[in-house]
Symmetry: C2
Subunit: 139 residues, 2 copies
Amino acid sequence: MTNEIKIQWLGDMLFNADSLGGSLKIDAPENAEIESKGLRPKALMLTSLAGCTGMDIVSLLKKMRAEVENIEINVSGELTDEHPRFYNKVHVQYCFYGKEFKKDKIEKAIKLSADQYCGVMEMFRQFAEITLETKYIEK
Amino acid sequence: MTNEIKIQWLGDMLFNADSLGGSLKIDAPENAEIESKGLRPKALMLTSLAGCTGMDIVSLLKKMRAEVENIEINVSGELTDEHPRFYNKVHVQYCFYGKEFKKDKIEKAIKLSADQYCGVMEMFRQFAEITLETKYIEK
């Protein structure tokens, strides 16, 4: 299977990006002269990771009958000081909202996604040290 | 430097993602029952790559006084058949639109981005074979 995307320059550092499912704007941080009109390209890597593992978790919790009320995933990535700057440390925090959590199943779902299913996590493992955290928020 | 993003579950496979510069929707491909309302997480990796190298190119061509009228970057990534599915082959096609191209400078800019500046390309090199292509379109 092949994925394809296209970006087109719109002037300054602004690009429009098209891929399956829609389009988005990418831009550099704002500076004194130019306002930023889009997302940062490097942060998109972290969004990709969160989305990939997030979909695994939703689908696994459904199969395991361990659904929760809400899920939030926070990802932080530390960039090296030297160029080319890449993420060398990445922390993924899974937050589950609800009550009477089936914690053993939830932990199992996270482990399955991290170790076996999530292709983006597999790619990140090649350059970053990844740490995982689970948080339960009773509602 | 640390980048942070957050995704929040909206039901089915749909997530809202927030990061510096804005938000976007992530979703799985549509199926018989559910329409897709967002971008695919894995394709965002390719968008990240295109945006990172694209910004390098814009900034380098400006410094080198080798500006072009327009730039388009197409990225295709081949996923492995086995899970976890990762990109093992990635092709980046740089398309330059304009006339009287300073091709030596443009080639140099691409080489600088690919080899030294683009952190996302550096991360991709850890798991994928990357090929680059340059195309000039006279207007």
